[in-house]
Amino acid sequence: MTGASDLAIDIRGLTKSYGPVEAVKGIDIQISRGEVFALLGPNGAGKTTTVEILEGYRTRDGGDVSVLGVDPATGSRALKERVGIVLQSTGIDPYLTVSETVALYSGYYPHPRPVDDVIDLVGLDAKRNTRVVKLSGGQQRRLDVAIALAGDPELLFLDEPTTGFDPSARRGAWDIVKDLAALGKTVLLTTHYMDEAQYLADTVAVISQGTIVALGSPSTIGGRDVGNTRVRFRLPAGEAIPSLPGVLNPHEVETEGDGFIEFDAAEPTRALHELTGWAIEKGVDLNGLEVQRPSLEDVYLALTGGPSTEEQGEPEPAGRRRRRRG
């Protein structure tokens, strides 16, 4: 258990509606100081609403919220001095240079980080004297992070920091967040990329339709560590799907177009024993045999009710893509 004073963020029973739409339906989140916490969920799940309540942009309908010990609804200037915010959509004056922009925002804070340090930290040192209008999208996003870091905040909000990035830009952004964690900052990031949450976060909360549906470390969330193991192999030519009682029921598996069979095994040791026993008895090879724990993506999709149609057309996450079963 963590005591209240160790909490950077404490949310209890938070609710928020927009007209008849309940965007957030009573969530509880506790984030310790120094923790990197990812709020993972599809578009429209309530991620941004929750974060914007913490940032002071939205008022809540119900529940208790404390950010660094302060209620953000008060609009406290003292609180804003300790927090850095990277919003989902960016806006920076296009006619100032990178270092002028960081200097402008540094000036708002009582104990800013040196401007050059901040620019180096986000890797924009070569663009120091470039006007914002001439930066690429990825460079502007780095500048967003630089602005959020200008005041040397204790707590950083990153709302979908890498949406629209190419894979190498995402790696670069991840390195920045890792560096921040190493500096002891508390980071709350929202994302709909599984691999991002997996790589960056100490704790992941999956939010779906305004409710937290799972909470835990990326390696154990949703029973990942104890969940079913997935077995996959190519069915030898001319063989029917074997019936292995208690392991594999031919009517419950799906044959993929390329001849692969996938099934979930509650007891992987026994399943493999039965399966390989069957193959040896038949004198066939199990080509492409794979045994996998459920990925964070599998857990996420199971929890949020299948692939989100809203995410179509967005850049493919850098992680591996798998065919889904229905």
Binding site: E55, G56, Y57, R77, K80, E81, V83, I85, L87, S89, T90, G91, I92, D93, P94, Y95, L96, E100, L104, Y105, G107, Y108, Y109, P110, R131, I147, G151
Partner: protein
């Protein structure tokens, strides 16, 4: 840094960005000066009867273009630039920092007023050099400065107020021009309105703040009567603008 220091610092950054933006530098700064040269060159030799006196149009335009410059720098410039900043998310970002919102807006207003004063000085110098215009002195200078200051502040307030009615940045030029151009034409800014203008036009001029402001600004240059009630009407419009801005102003893009 305390709030006044933060505000002045913000004025300096606003100024830097202003001059680097070709659109603001041209439309706000060069535009009124261009109109001044065009109108005085084309129409400068004619006269218009005002308050029983025949006023040379060259002098008329020197005086009224000063008023136009103030309206452009304060009303049009503030309405457009603040809407663009709102829609691009600059305002929302600023709202998340410790800089108080009023300090940010005050900095923009101070900057717009400084640009307006600079334009008035250039206009008056132009008039003095090329058309031997009379420059205000003594008490008429005080009256002139009062009108200039109150007018600039009021048009800034109205510029902030109108942003509450602009749905997005694309609509900003249309809404701003639709709201100010008819008033400029009906208040004698582009086409002089003399004693013999139609009554309905004079009536419209008495309702909206532009004619009152232009009359007050012209008085010291043209030797026409100065009425403090013009200052009061403009100030009332400014106060209404401030009230509307306080209720309707948005720090986030309107959806």
């Amino acid at each position: 840094m305390n709030v006044p220091e933060l505000t002045l610092r913000q004025v300096r950054f606003t100024n830097k960005a202003f001059w680097r933006n070709p659109a603001s530098a041209f439309f706000t700064f060069a535009f009124p000066l261009m109109f001044l040269v065009i109108f005085t060159s084309l129409l400068g030799s004619g006269t218009v009867p005002i308050a029983g006196k025949d006023i040379k149009l060259a002098s008329y335009y020197v005086a009224v273009m000063g008023a136009f410059a103030v309206i452009t720098a304060c009303y049009t410039n503030i309405a457009m630039s603040v809407t663009f900043q709102r829609d691009s998310g600059v305002l929302k970002r600023t709202k998340g920092t410790p800089l108080p919102g009023p300090a940010y807006l005050t900095a923009r207003v101070i900057h717009a007023m400084l640009i307006a004063f600079l334009l008035v000085i250039i206009t008056a110098t132009f008039g003095k050099l090329f058309y031997s215009a009379d420059l205000p002195t003594g008490f008429s200078l005080f009256e002139f400065l009062a009108m200039l200051f109150i007018g600039a502040a009021s048009f800034c307030a109205l510029g902030l107020a109108i942003t509450g009615f602009i749905p997005n940045a694309d609509a900003a030029p249309a809404v701003v021009n639709a709201s100010i151009l008819p008033a400029l034409f009906l208040s004698g800014v582009f086409i002089p309105i003399g004693d013999n203008a139609p009554e309905w036009i004079k009536l419209i001029g008495r309702i909206f703040p532009v004619k009152h402001f232009a009359d007050g600004m012209q008085a010291a240059f043209l030797g026409t009567p100065f009425y403090w009630r013009d200052v009061v009407v403009v100030a009332l419009w400014g106060a209404v603008g401030l009230l509307i801005a306080a209720r309707k102003f948005s720090w986030e893009p309107r959806k």
